[in-house]
Amino acid sequence: MPHLTVRIWRGADEGEYQSFSVPMRENQTVLDVVSEVQRSQDQSLSYRFACRVGVCGSCAMMVNGKPRWTCRTHIRSLKSGVVTIAPLRNMPRIKDLVTDMSGFIDKWGKAGNVFESERDRRDAPVAVDPSSPRRKAADAAIECINCGVCHAACDVVSWNDSYLGPAALNRAWSLVNDERHSRKKETMAAAMGDGGCGNCHSQGNCMAACPIGLSPTRSIAGLKKMSLMSLLGGSDV
């Protein structure tokens, strides 16, 4: 059976790559390879996953230098006989392939991403026209699984500690387009603040890397335009 060489980061900030040889299989994802190494070669190898089908966003790693969701990345699609796997970029490392995602999640909150509305559980849901432009804009950004792949792909995130990053701002965009949301001003204020949308240089890595095919670049551009409107006082936000 042909084998695949995998180089896996061991350690935390200090560490080194360790090579393993794993049997090649017809159907094999990067997560499978990592699992196989852990199961049959080194029990103590640390990695993180949950859903294994691309909905939980906890398995992202750097694969051959690119941030990816590993559970949905087929080895074959890498077209490479040697696979190098490292922990996700732009996040503090915990051990081996596991990173601390709490900073990323904190930024999500700092971007004003908490829904509020005037209604409560006794009221019926607001009628929302599914074909309205705002609903469509909100929808286009809403399916994010907060996997952090875009966050890892954005250089501004690594250069500027205060930058909220593409995922957090993408969510802010869906919120400011949510006609039910009553705290749009607060959400916009965060999106326009020091770490906000003005920091984005349209590098586009986020969009190119997002496994879901979302477009944080577009969402952030939307926020930039809305910021202009609101500073000019002409926005309905």
């Binding site: 159907n27 994802t29 196989e36 908490v114 929302v128 929808d139 399916e143």
Partner: protein, 587 residues
């Protein structure tokens, strides 16, 4: 062994729909409460609520009613549900969905007139499933996560609960023992009230859908406390799990039911459509029937190269399929399969556990201070869970748990003293594998998976169950002879797999025992040697207790407190698919 200690008013174990809702409600009831979430993975980024595709059942629309939803649930559950719980589910779901929309911020799909869109789901007499495209769980959990982060709740992420600790004076529950998985340290958290919301999960089967972090730990901890587990033989199999081969984690993951609803064909290894041989509705028959049909084909050897059957969509037009099921098509493509134009191999896959901890409608349990909600609990669904009732269950009862716990801790100034011997025992039991030579954990897990699949699976009989039980006892012994490698504890996945296996083998035995005890066929439980339903009026629930190392089975008659077999709360037939979509579009 040093043990870190902490104190909180309310400790919630698990962050699925049940856990997060409980945290939110407890904080709403009293913002000054100290609420702590402990979870095996990252908050909200693990468990199955996030994986919900199909949606959320709720009687919102004109023409639908709580009574109708209730009758569908009872009839679907083959008269085994606890009726008070089922009623509470259907009634509260209305409020909960409005809360999700208006307070939590879920942005469900709409009808052209702006009202919530509700789709058809199998086994229901009304289109009542609220959804956000086919990724409803992501929307629910992401919005809940945002709310919970903002609510000043303590988070113990990557903390595995290993034992619930009783009070020294026997008055109730004192706290829980956890392992901080990142450091490998033990942590005792004293709490006035604890919610068990670890989501059970039938991951001991060769093919299974749930998230990998779910390994029945909660059920195991409940058994240790002496609580009864009811209806444990009721394991729901989803008919179309992806089959990718033995060594890929994608195997077992769900291909949505809508594929069959839309007219997908199931074809066996000989290239024949076989479902009409089993049921007149063909591929559109209910989950249990289709699962058994496929299983039968597999048993008779008419399988695909990897040992399943094919699902084929191409005749509907590849472009049409790609457009209608973009998520499924992309998922298959990422895994190397062409769903839109080719044939994809599928198998029935263990999806949901209807059984679990016995609990009351206010989520309290027999142990003072312990509450339970979500998939860890038994009684709401009986013999079958309707698609869309799972997430309703976890969010409805999770919210109730938050309210109940906040009320419970009110006025309680002090924490109970822990029974130190229990704490010591928790540590000793977890340290045990480091005292043994490291072994082939994965091999054992595979063996367990095969046994459960073959002997305690889609179709059962006395001989198989007995054989299975014997083998399972052997696995329990084998596990105790097997240790893990190394001496460090930090993020040691082998160690955690050992602990997973400990829960899984024990709960597997519980399932097998309950399955032996039920000598009739109801819903998800099918006995080849007892294919009949049995008299509905004499319906009983199985309840399994642990007495020392032994498991004990009891049969307890169902209390038809609201409606008796033969009666109904609605005019027409409950549990019938809506005429529009036979078989429904569901998950």
């Amino acid at each position: 062994m040093t043990i870190e200690t902490g104190k909180t008013d309310i400790l919630i174990i698990g962050t699925g729909g049940a856990g997060l809702f409980a945290a939110l409600h407890a904080k709403q009831a009293n913002p000054d409460l100290d609420v702590t979430l402990a979870v095996k993975g990252l908050v909200g980024k693990c468990g199955c609520t996030r994986m919900v595709q199909g949606g959320y059942n709720v009687a919102l629309a004109a023409g639908d009613s709580v009574e109708r939803h209730f009758m569908d649930t009872i009839v679907g559950g083959k008269w085994l549900p606890n009726q008070e719980l089922a009623w509470r589910l259907c009634e509260k779901a209305v409020e909960r969905v409005n809360e999700l929309e208006n307070e939590v911020g879920c942005f469900f799909d709409r009808n052209p007139d702006g009202s919530l869109h509700q789709k058809a789901f199998a086994g229901q007499s009304f289109d009542r499933t609220v959804h956000k495209s086919d990724l409803t769980g992501i929307e629910i959990i992401n919005r809940l996560m945002e709310k919970v982060w903002a609510a000043q709740v303590n988070k113990l992420e990557e903390h595995r609960a290993i034992r619930l600790i009783r009070a020294a004076d026997g008055s109730g529950l004192a706290g829980a023992m956890l392992i901080d998985m990142r450091s490998g340290c033990y942590r005792y958290v004293a709490a006035k009230a604890i919610l068990l919301a670890t989501g059970a999960g039938p991951t001991m089967y060769r093919y299974h859908t749930p998230s990998g972090d779910k390994t029945c730990d909660g059920l195991n901890m409940a058994l240790d406390l002496g609580l009864g587990l009811r209806d444990m033989e009721m394991v729901q199999f989803h008919p179309t799990g992806l089959l990718g081969g033995p060594d890929t984690r994608m195997t077992g993951t769900v291909l949505e039911e809508g594929l069959r609803g839309a007219g997908g064909h199931l074809v066996n290894g000989d290239g024949e459509r076989f479902m009409f041989g089993y049921h007149e509705a063909g591929e559109r028959a209910t989950r249990d029937i289709v699962s058994r049909g496929i299983y039968q084909e597999m048993r008779e050897g008419r399988t695909t190269p990897m040992g399943g059957v094919y699902i084929s969509m191409a005749h509907l037009g590849p472009d049409h399929v790609a457009e209608r099921f973009p998520g499924m098509v992309k998922r298959c493509r990422d895994c190397g399969f062409d769903l839109a134009g080719g044939m994809v191999e599928v198998v029935p896959t263990a999806h949901y556990m209807m059984g679990g901890v016995s609990f009351s409608a206010d989520t309290s349990t027999e142990i003072d201070g312990l509450f339970a909600a979500g998939e860890d609990c038994g009684g709401v669904h009986g013999a079958n869970r309707l698609g869309g009732n799972g997430v309703a269950n976890s969010t409805v009862f999770g919210g109730i748990a938050g309210d109940s716990m906040a009320a419970y801790v009110k006025g309680r100034k002090t924490w109970r003293d822990a029974d130190q011997t229990e704490i010591d025992r928790a540590v000793a039991e977890s340290e045990y594998p480091f005292s043994k030579p490291s072994g082939d954990l994965h091999g054992l897990r595979e063996a367990l998976a095969h046994t459960m699949w073959d002997d305690v699976g889609v179709m059962r009989d006395a001989a198989g169950l007995e054989r299975g039980m014997k083998t399972l006892t052997g696995y329990t012994k084998a596990l105790m002879d097997m240790g893990v490698s190394g001496d460090h504890r930090a993020f040691h996945m082998g160690w955690h797999e050992w602990l997973n296996l400990k829960s899984l083998t024990r709960i597997s035995e519980v399932i097998a025992l309950a399955a032996m005890g039920r000598e009739n066929s109801r819903g998800a439980h099918y006995r080849e040697d007892f294919p009949d339903t049995g008299a509905l009026e004499e319906s009983a629930n199985t309840v399994v207790y642990a007495k020392g190392d032994q498991l004990e089975l009891h049969l307890e008659p169902v209390d038809f407190s609201i409606v008796k077999p033969g009666e109904s709360l609605i005019e027409d037939m409950a549990g019938m698919p809506t005429p529009m979509v036979a078989g429904g579009v569901s998950l």
